[in-house]
């Protein structure tokens, strides 16, 4: 190690070390499972948002989560991404990464990306800048202060821009985009992060049928390389993408299986589909 890298490493420690150097490679999926949620409970003022929830996601799987309002879908995502700490239970990303000990940025660095229910892009920033913020790479202050994006990152952004078809909007402020475009931009930001597990909350809300179709294609193309967890109300959309569906009810898993199995499950019919 020469002097300059030593200094650089020192600075990186001071400015908050990157996740990569600090821990073993996250999300070790040698057992074929990328996410383990076991007996997770969360309560707000006595209301049990999650009640001993146990759920596993396989590596490369595309899983749909459905459930009536208040079933705990968003809270579950909050737990996975570190926003909410559960009262009990464990959450592991692969074999080696205990999610409950990590902060939100650490979890993001470990390889879990999230798209929110309400599209939250940075409205004051341009489309390009939004992707630039999201793109995978060192995200410490020292790096972002000192160096512009490298070529690989630029290429990645171009790729994503193409995927989400916003090339000609790249210099437009994100706040000026249409609702569907914002949804796409957010998905694009998720892609730019290159996460291993994507949490996608209601991706097609407010989209036109064509956009829905393209979203379904995109999510399907991601499966295999990435693991994807989709929360969605739109049953047609779920049917079009899902291999396996999990039904949440009152904070725990009510049923799990293919969409047909689930739809024919009398308990599910009672709490959800029968409405």
């Amino acid at each position: 190690m020469n002097a300059s890298t030593a200094i650089r490493n020192g600075w990186q420690k001071v400015f908050g070390a990157g996740a990569r150097g600090a821990r073993p490679a996250p999300g070790d999926t040698s057992h074929g499972t990328i996410l383990y949620l076991e007996d997770i409970s969360v309560s707000f003022d006595g209301f049990k948002a999650l009640n001993a929830l146990t759920l596993y996601i396989d590596a490369g799987e595309l899983r749909c989560i459905i459930g009536p309002n208040g079933a705990g879908k968003t809270t579950m995502m909050d737990v996975i991404t570190g926003k909410t700490r559960p009262d009990a239970g464990s959450a592991w990303f692969g074999q080696t990464t205990d999610l409950l000990t990590l902060s939100e940025p650490q979890i993001a660095e470990a390889g879990i990306g999230r798209k929110f229910q309400k599209p939250t892009v940075f409205e004051q920033h341009t489309v390009m800048e939004n992707l630039e913020l999201a793109v995978a790479g060192h995200k410490t202050l020292w790096t972002t202060l000192r160096s512009p994006l490298d070529r690989r990152q630029h290429e990645r952004i171009e790729e994503v821009l193409e995927t989400i078809r916003l090339q000609d909007r790249r210099s437009m402020r994100a706040g000026m985009l249409s609702h569907g475009q914002k949804q796409w931009l957010e998905i694009g930001m998720l892609l730019a992060q290159e996460p291993r597990l994507l949490l996608v909350d209601e991706p097609v809300a407010g989209m036109t049928p064509q956009e829905v179709e393209r979203t379904a294609e995109l999510l399907l193309s991601l499966a295999g390389k990435h693991s994807v967890m989709v929360v969605e109300h739109d049953m047609d959309f779920v049917r079009s993408i899902a291999h396996k569906v999990t039904v949440l009810h009152e904070g725990h898993v009510l049923a799990e299986g293919t969409i047909d199995e689930v739809q024919n499950d009398p308990r599910v019919v009672e709490v959800y589909l029968g409405e």
Partner: protein, 563 residues
């Protein structure tokens, strides 16, 4: 007992000066108050003896003065006490030409004279025409004894108690005998205890060790400072290694007694600190509770809150200017008026500024800070930049003496009570009225409340007015405790915010408990750190606390609170 029966027929005779009939009603009132007042029946004879004794005071000879004091005492005239007191305070004069004695009040170079016989005004005399009847140490001591023994016969137990304590301050054989004489006839427990304490202190000087031991036992647990001093002195070691108290047993008993006394003293001083802290906390709660509504319920930062308190304080001042004859009632009148004034200004602020800024708390902070500057300057222009004098009503002055080590001043006591009343009323308004229901509804879910037909704009204005009005009411209380000036508000605003944040935003109980605990902690630190440093320490502690629990003592929980 005898005193009481005497008074029944003594009162008319004792009433000096015409017009008798016109004063009759007053005198009956006084009679009711003075039931049992010591006045002897042979009023005329007394007057003569009194007059003679007075005449004897007009001398420069201290021996003669001392005799005259004794004669005055024997005369037991209604005005004896006043005269002796005037002598003690150096307000007794005799006119050089006729050697008549007067009570005088100095006015520049002249004296306003008062006839001690009738207590009527005797005109103004040039100061050079009169000689002050001077006192020396010995005479003053005699006077104090005389006054004390006079007071010992007073029908009011408080006066008797004060007299005993005066005697205790420096005991000598005369005083001890006065006390001993009174001991048997005293029927009030507190006074009797005090007398016994005094006699026990005297007994500490006894040659008989058993008597001293008994005296030490008697003094155990006494809170009288004199008893403490004497006991401490008796176990103190002189330079040569000897003790003031020769007997070992007595010394041990004295040490035990001192220990017990110290325990009681520290108990009461803790109690006092607690009470001071609670009263300080009450001021904080009063100042913060309006803020808790506007900040906690509406989510806006009202930096002009302090100035609304200032308006309340100035309202009190103006009310007192309007009704100078009724200072006692003025404060009570000021409360609703201040509520209306500050509440009105609050509604104006809400309609004029706040309503454009909902959902942008940082902007409300800046805008209302501007409003606060304007309000300060308005007050400066109207009332000048100097502090305005606000009078304290008589019923708020003084203190409640619980025992020798613990007393409660009335203004602090009233502040605590007042705060509790305001808090209770506020809780009632928020919990039991339809306005309160709407306020809470809007606070929880504005859009939903609106869609259910709640006129949110109206509710906002009223809520803000309510919070501001309470600031005004707090200002009335502050006017009794602190200087009323244009900067009054500024000195409370940071504290108020800290209380709200400490207690947990959106929780009135949190504000109450937060304010009270801050008050107590501040007060408890003060003896060790001094007032300013205590405050600094509390601020630092608060800053650290907020980092530990960013949502205060009693946070609102749930998903809604997180967004």
């Amino acid at each position: 007992m005898t005193n009481l029966s005497c008074t029944l027929y003594a009162v008319p005779g004792a009433s000096p000066g015409p017009p008798f009939l016109a004063r009759r009603a007053l005198w009956w009132l006084a009679f009711a108050l003075m039931l049992g007042m010591l006045v002897r029946p042979a009023a005329a004879a007394e007057s003569t003896a009194f007059e003679q004794a007075l005449g004897n005071l007009a001398t420069t000879n201290f021996k003669q003065k001392e005799r005259a004091v004794g004669e005055l005492l024997d005369a037991r005239h209604a005005n004896t006490r006043t005269v002796l007191n005037a002598l003690l305070e150096g307000n007794l004069y005799y006119r050089k030409d006729d050697k008549r004695v007067f009570i005088g009040a100095a006015q520049d170079t002249s004296l306003r004279l008062q006839d001690p016989l009738t207590m009527s005004d005797a005109g103004i005399a040039d100061a050079s025409d009169c000689t002050k009847i001077t006192t020396n140490n010995q005479l003053r001591k005699a006077l104090k004894s005389a006054l004390a023994s006079f007071d010992l016969a007073d029908p009011d137990a408080d006066v008797r108690l004060a007299a005993v304590n005066e005697l205790l301050r420096s005991l000598d054989a005369d005083r001890v005998s006065i006390l001993r004489a009174r001991q048997s006839s005293e029927n009030n427990d507190a006074v009797r205890t005090a007398i016994q304490t005094g006699l026990a202190i005297a007994d500490l000087d006894s040659a008989d060790a058993d008597v001293r031991l008994a005296a030490v036992d008697q003094l155990e647990g006494s809170l009288n400072p004199e008893a403490f001093n004497r006991l401490s002195a008796s176990v103190a070691r002189a330079d040569d290694g000897s003790y003031a108290e020769p007997d070992e047993n007595v010394r041990n008993a004295a040490r035990a007694a001192l220990n017990a006394i110290n325990n009681w003293r520290s108990f009461y001083s803790t109690l006092e600190t607690l009470f001071f802290g609670l009263s300080l906390g009450s001021v904080l709660v009063l100042a913060a509770i309006g803020l808790a509504i506007t900040f906690g319920v509406m989510g806006v930062i009202n930096m002009a809150h302090g100035e609304l308190m200032m308006l309340g304080a100035y309202t009190t001042y103006v009310i007192q200017l309007l009704m100078p004859q009724h200072i006692g009632a003025s404060v009570l009148v000021a409360i609703p008026v201040a509520f209306a004034v500050a509440g009105g200004v609050g509604v104006l602020i809400e309609r004029g500024v706040m309503r454009f800024l909902y959902g942008r708390p940082l902007e409300t902070l800046l805008a209302t800070f501007g409003v606060s500057l304007v309000l300060q300057q308005i007050v400066r222009d109207i009332f000048s930049a100097n502090n305005r004098p606000v009078e304290t009503p008589a019923w708020m002055a003084g203190s409640l003496q619980v025992n020798e080590a613990f007393s409660i001043t009335y203004n602090r006591l009233y502040v605590v009570l007042f705060m509790l009343i305001v808090f209770a009323i506020l809780q009632l308004v928020l919990k039991k009225t339809s306005l309160g229901l709407k306020v809470r509804a809007v606070a929880q879910n504005r859009a939903m409340a609106k869609s259910m037909g709640v006129r949110t704009e109206w509710v906002d204005a009223l809520t803000f007015g309510l919070g501001s009005g309470i600031a005004g009411v707090a200002g009335v209380a502050l006017s009794q405790l602190t200087n009323v000036g244009p900067n009054l508000g500024q000195s409370y605003i940071i504290d108020s915010f800290m209380v709200v944040v400490f207690g947990g935003v959106g929780n009135l109980w949190g504000t109450l408990i937060g304010g009270m605990s801050l008050g107590v902690v501040n007060q408890a630190l003060e003896p060790y750190a001094g007032a300013v440093l205590a405050k600094i320490l509390v601020l630092i502690a608060l800053i650290l606390f907020i980092q530990r629990r960013p949502r205060g003592l009693f946070p609102q929980k749930g998903r809604a609170a997180e967004s």
